[in-house]
């Protein structure tokens, strides 16, 4: 009788026709020491009742690398030991009966250099529909330096973006034009002009503004760039508006990108739903054309939000840093959309750091060296307002775009006043932080003091003073801040 969790080493037995446990086929190697050049994936697996977790982990390794459901003799024509992914560790998830963390190592040669599409076709390919699992979630990945170096990385990066915008030492400010659908080009440009003149650095198209009957894309681009230019002249600052170039084909996206460039835009925008290859193509275009590339993560919550199944946003963030976008939405902590402080910190670190040490309390399972790839600017958007400025600066730091859509356009005295309120609140808070004030505890006093010389800020604070979004998060770290877990 063969041990169900032992690799069968006798070649005649191993390759005799028929079905065999994945663990027996060589996809479970508890003694395996991952190489520095291995890609490592951490999956949360929920086996079907009666399915052993080790066999489930081996099956994930198998189905995401070389295996099929039955033994094939053609394995023996290859260096199949090398190409088999190896599940090497399975841990129960704390406080989650029936769920396990499975660590799986993949040899670097399994992946085409510089292709997110190829990476994901393996790692989140067929395996996610595999019947012996109730659910499967890709929690984190360790990307070896040798692999990271095959990607361009962010087209511009935080440092060069700041140099181009001539903006240092404070978060950038933005707003999404609202209503997101229905405005004509001319009316839309009005919102852009008022917001930028009032003190924002950026305005933004929403994810689903492309080219619709009420406003075709060229109209939007022309009016928006008139607004950007006029606001720049009115303030003496570099301004931008994320022109969404998302379209049905690459050819059309390139045409829109070129038009944005010809009008002098500093930034273009794409949606996550265009797909990984399209994102990489636009990142290359952006690098070649001195353009900041903003990515709106439209659609991500369909697979990132539930803890049991899908792909964690931290993994999407890693892929996007490889793929080469400059801006990516990453949560606000305090706003209307999903994200607890600890998990969000993990995302921000992935965006902005040269090196991420393992931090289980933030959901980061591996040390990750970014090999000098540019940094991504996180974008905080959704249900935030000037009265939260001390919280936003404390949680998110200063290399971030704070986007106040409703919090700008919904101001009782109009869009320009809304923008000014946000800018004054921001500058006052950064000033106070640098001056050594305890902004977390004194934030409201600091804002009230700044409002004494800024009526729009006073009005904003009065309008939104009680607005909070205090709901439990669905996606929180599995480990407590000081984990007793050895690695």
């Amino acid at each position: 009788m063969l041990d169900k969790n032992m690799t069968v080493t006798d070649a005649k037995k191993r390759y005799s026709a028929g079905v065999m446990k994945y663990a027996q086929m060589g996809y479970w190697e508890p003694d395996y020491q991952p190489k520095d050049t291995d890609v490592i994936a951490l999956f949360r697996i929920t086996p079907q009742d009666g399915v052993d977790e080790v066999e489930a982990a081996a099956a994930v390794a198998g189905e995401s690398s070389t295996a099929t459901w039955t033994v094939v003799w053609t394995d023996r024509l290859t260096a199949c030991d090398k190409y088999r992914a190896k599940a090497y560790r399975v841990d129960p998830v704390p406080n989650a009966p029936g769920e396990f963390f499975a660590y799986i190592a993949y040899d670097l040669d399994l992946f085409e250099p510089g292709s997110i599409a190829n990476l994901t076709a393996s790692i989140i390919g067929n395996v996610f529909g595999f019947k012996p699992l109730k659910a499967l979630r890709l929690e984190d990945m360790r990307l070896p330096v040798a692999y990271v170096k095959t990607f361009q990385g962010p087209a511009t990066g935080i440092v060069v973006e700041r140099e181009r915008l001539n903006c240092y030492g404070r978060p950038l400010l933005g707003a999404t034009v609202k209503p997101k659908l229905g405005l004509s080009g001319r009316n839309y440009g009005r919102v852009v002009y008022e917001a930028l003149k009032g003190g924002l650095d950026f305005t933004k198209d929403d994810e689903n503004i492309n080219s619709q009957p009420f406003m075709h894309w060229r109209d939007r681009f022309l009016y928006c760039m008139e607004a950007v230019s006029r606001a720049s002249a009115a303030t003496g600052e570099v301004k931008g508006t994320y022109l969404n170039i998302t379209a049905g084909t690459m050819e059309e996206m390139y045409a829109r990108a070129e038009f944005a460039k010809s009008l002098g835009s500093v930034v273009v925008m794409i949606d996550l739903v265009i797909g990984y290859t399209a994102i990489q193509s636009m990142a290359k275009w952006a690098r070649d054309n001195d353009m900041i590339l903003h990515l709106h993560r439209a659609g991500h919550s369909t697979y990132t939000r539930q803890r049991s199944h899908g792909v964690s946003f931290r993994v999407i963030a890693k892929w996007m840093r490889l793929a080469g976008v400059d801006h990516l939405h990453a949560g606000t902590v305090v706003g209307k959309l999903e994200g607890d402080p600890a998990t969000t910190k993990g995302y921000y670190d992935i965006f902005r750091e040269e090196y991420n040490p393992m931090a289980l309390e933030n959901g980061i399972f591996f040390d990750q060296d970014w090999a000098s790839l540019n940094k991504m600017m996180p974008v905080a958007s959704g249900g935030i307002h000037a009265g939260q400025m001390h919280q936003l600066l404390t949680y998110l730091g200063e290399d971030v775009v704070l986007q106040f859509g409703g919090g700008t356009i919904g101001h009782p005295q109009g869009i320009e006043a809304g923008a000014t309120a946000n800018r004054v609140a921001l500058e006052a808070m950064v000033f106070a932080r640098n001056a050594g004030r305890d902004i977390w505890n004194e934030g409201e006093d600091i804002l009230r003091a700044a409002a004494r010389t800024c009526t729009p800020l006073k009005q904003a604070l009065d309008t939104w003073k009680d607005v909070t979004f205090d709901y439990a998060s669905t996606d929180t770290p599995d480990y407590a801040p000081t984990p007793e877990v050895s690695f």
Binding site: V159, G199, G236, V424, F431
Partner: protein, 139 residues
């Protein structure tokens, strides 16, 4: 108009003590502070004139405030800003920038439109002050 460049251009003008406190924050972070001035405030004018080198080895921000005031004596009718440079790997650029002196009158910028074919318009921003030669701008 009021030139809105820099970290604090939407706040009231900074006092010398405000400047000292902000510069000390930078120095305590290990950044080198420096003073620059210009009579060409175009938003894409990267290179203002340097008032000496960045102060790499000065532990006390009072020295920066002294240099700001020396610069004001020579260039008080122009824009003066304070910068902080971070030389650490992965940044190697500016960390802070704020205006500490302005001309009495800020005439602002003219938006020049060059009509092209179709509805294409090329926009250029031109500082009213730079119509005059260097040294003859702002009084």
């Amino acid at each position: 108009m009021r030139l809105r460049q820099g970290q604090y251009s939407f706040l009231p003008d900074l006092s010398d003590d405000d400047i000292r406190v902000q510069a000390q924050y930078a120095i305590d972070k290990g950044w080198a502070v420096s003073v620059e001035y210009t009579d060409d405030p175009h938003p894409r004018n990267s290179f203002w004139e340097m008032w000496g080198h960045p102060m790499f080895d000065t532990p006390d921000a009072a020295a920066l405030v002294y240099e700001v005031n020396e610069c004001r004596k020579a260039h008080g009718a122009k824009y003066i800003r304070v910068l902080a440079f971070d030389a650490s790997a992965g940044w190697e650029s500016i960390r802070m920038s704020f205006i500490v002196n302005r001309p009495a009158e800020e005439p602002g910028f003219r938006l020049v439109r060059q009509e092209g074919e179709g509805r294409m318009i090329r926009y250029t921003i031109e500082s009213y002050a730079t119509r005059e030669p260097e040294g003859a701008r702002y009084a």
